[in-house]
């Protein structure tokens, strides 16, 4: 349990941020973070240490989040694509980071469609390798590369000429 607590202390912020970017809801992100770590603890005997702990936790977090959203039918696909906060037009999300530029980046990423958002989160923010991203998303590596390229192009369009978004991490 001590080891588990250590993992929670070091990784939970990251897992929380990952989930929150998918669901765009503070309270729900805490609940799903809770579910993720419960599942991780219960399944830790199956963790073969072939991947990093973070990657393993992100994979669990993604499954937990998508399972949750799927059960919310009839909002299923709409929710998966755009984030459930859009069910309520009154919902205004609080600032997620103190840094203004990063907050702006968050907003722009949030407007991307889910596949773009996910690949950007995994490759650029959490810096998973192409193979790890492909494994997590259950895509081919070619699809990861192509989708990331399109996502960055879309971000570039949204930013205009002021920023340069390229996939500099090729591994």
């Amino acid at each position: 349990m001590e080891d588990f607590e250590r993992v929670y202390r070091t990784e939970s912020d990251r897992i929380y941020s990952y989930i929150r970017m998918l669901v765009k809801d503070e309270t729900l992100a805490e609940d799903l973070t809770q579910d993720t770590f419960v599942k991780a603890f219960q399944g830790q005997s199956h963790f073969r240490h072939e991947s990093q702990t973070t990657t393993w936790l992100i994979r669990i977090a993604r499954n937990v989040t998508i399972d949750y959203l799927r059960k919310r039918k009839p909002f299923l696909l709409f929710s998966l694509e755009t984030g459930i906060h859009l069910e309520s037009k009154e919902h205004v999300e609080r600032s997620v980071v103190a840094d203004e530029e990063a907050q702006e980046l968050y907003k722009k990423i949030s407007k991307l469609k889910r596949s773009y958002r996910e690949v950007v989160m995994l490759r650029k923010i959490h810096e998973l390798s192409i193979a790890e991203t492909a494994d997590t998303l259950e895509w081919s590596e070619a699809k990861v590369k192509m989708t990331l390229k399109r996502a960055l192009e879309k971000l570039q369009v949204n930013y205009g000429s002021e920023e340069v978004f390229q996939d500099e991490n090729k591994s």
């Binding site: 607590e5 929670y8 939970s12 912020d13 990251r14 929380y16 941020s17 929150r20 970017m21 805490e30 973070t33 809770q34 770590f37 419960v38 603890f41 219960q42 009839p74 299923l76 696909l77 709409f78 998966l80 694509e81 609080r94 600032s95 997620v96 980071v97 103190a98 840094d99 530029e101 990063a102 980046l105 968050y106 990423i109 469609k113 989160m121 650029k124 923010i125 959490h126 810096e127 259950e138 879309k154 369009v157 920023e163 340069v164 978004f165 390229q166 500099e168």
Partner: protein
């Protein structure tokens, strides 16, 4: 090449220590729960078993008394790994899709759509006494390349399906039919590159104003196209019998993967929703009702396109 250092700042959002601690406490409590329940298990287990047996007896008796001889079976097992679906309408020729695809064959390869189909169709369904009248076929190609051909008949309240070569007819919810027909109407697996719509003149469906009086509105804005694509792929529209108003539009969709392969629809942007009908030339077609998301999109497009 500029590296964006902001990326990693999004690894850790604002999150209070209290929230983090509270979540950890909840995790600990949940992880301790199994031990508590196992202590209580010895006392509760016989009670639970007896209650479960009583419920089972009631259910079996009730089923027996109400039995109309119907059986349930699965024509598609849950969790079946599917590579893709092929859809084709307009033929009642047996084994058509097994023999060959045509230019009109629509392939569904997006995992989310395959998952949705599986969720709607897999598992047990009632076998009914019904002569299926099918002109819509779905060929399921599994990841092990095994193929299953299904023949569908769509009614407003119910969908019938049979597996080619088998005599059983299964009864499914109307949602399966709504979903398949909407996919077949909008070709969700292809990329929409252009949406063009023009106002009708009068209620004569054979004419619409093409040029001089009112210009067509052509949408090539990427964001609008993506939103429209998402809606026709992901939204499950309701099939309705409603008539479109006289203020409707003629709408044409262009696709990246098919040169000149535009599809035509009637479009009615109403107060709270949008009707899209495939019945352009008073031939057989379907009318789908989309909710506020589609309505908001077309309102935006109209507002931006109106001088």
């Amino acid at each position: 090449m500029k590296t964006n250092l902001k990326w990693t700042k999004l690894r850790r959002f604002n999150r209070s220590e209290e929230a983090k601690e509270e979540t950890f406490q909840k995790i600990q409590n949940r992880l301790r729960e199994p031990n508590t329940s196992s202590r209580k298990k010895s006392f509760w287990q016989p009670v639970v078993t007896i209650v479960a047996l009583c419920i089972l007896v009631i259910l079996v008796t009730s089923e027996f008394l109400n039995s109309d001889g119907s059986q349930k079976r699965a024509f598609l097992e849950e969790g079946t790994p599917i590579d893709h679906l092929a859809l084709e309408r307009g033929t009642d020729e047996q084994e058509w899709l097994l023999e060959r695809y045509t230019d009109e064959t629509l392939e569904i390869r997006h995992q989310e759509q395959i998952d949705e189909f599986t969720e709607l169709a897999a598992g047990e369904h009632s076998i009914v006494d019904h002569d299926i009248d099918s002109d819509f076929q779905v060929l399921i190609t599994k990841t092990n390349e095994e193929k299953n051909l299904l023949n569908f008949e769509f009614q407003r309240e119910v969908t019938y399906v049979s597996v080619s070569g088998e005599s059983e007819v299964y009864q499914l919810s109307h949602e399966v039919g709504d979903r398949l027909l909407s996919w077949y109407s909008f070709w969700p697996s292809m990329t929409i590159t252009e949406v063009e719509f023009s106002p009708f003149e009068g209620d004569d469906q054979s004419t619409w104003v093409e040029g001089e009086e009112e210009e067509s509105i052509i949408i090539e804005d990427e964001e609008w196209l993506e939103r429209f694509q998402d809606l026709v792929e992901k939204d499950l529209p309701e099939r309705v019998d409603e008539r479109l108003s006289r203020e409707r539009f003629f709408m044409s969709l262009g696709y990246q993967e098919r040169d000149g392969g535009n599809l035509s629809f009637n479009l009615d942007i109403r107060e709270d929703d949008v009707l899209i009908s495939t019945d352009v030339n008073q031939q057989r077609g379907e009318t789908f009702r989309y909710d506020s998301e589609m309505k908001e999109l077309f309102d935006e497009i109209l507002e931006a396109s109106t001088p």
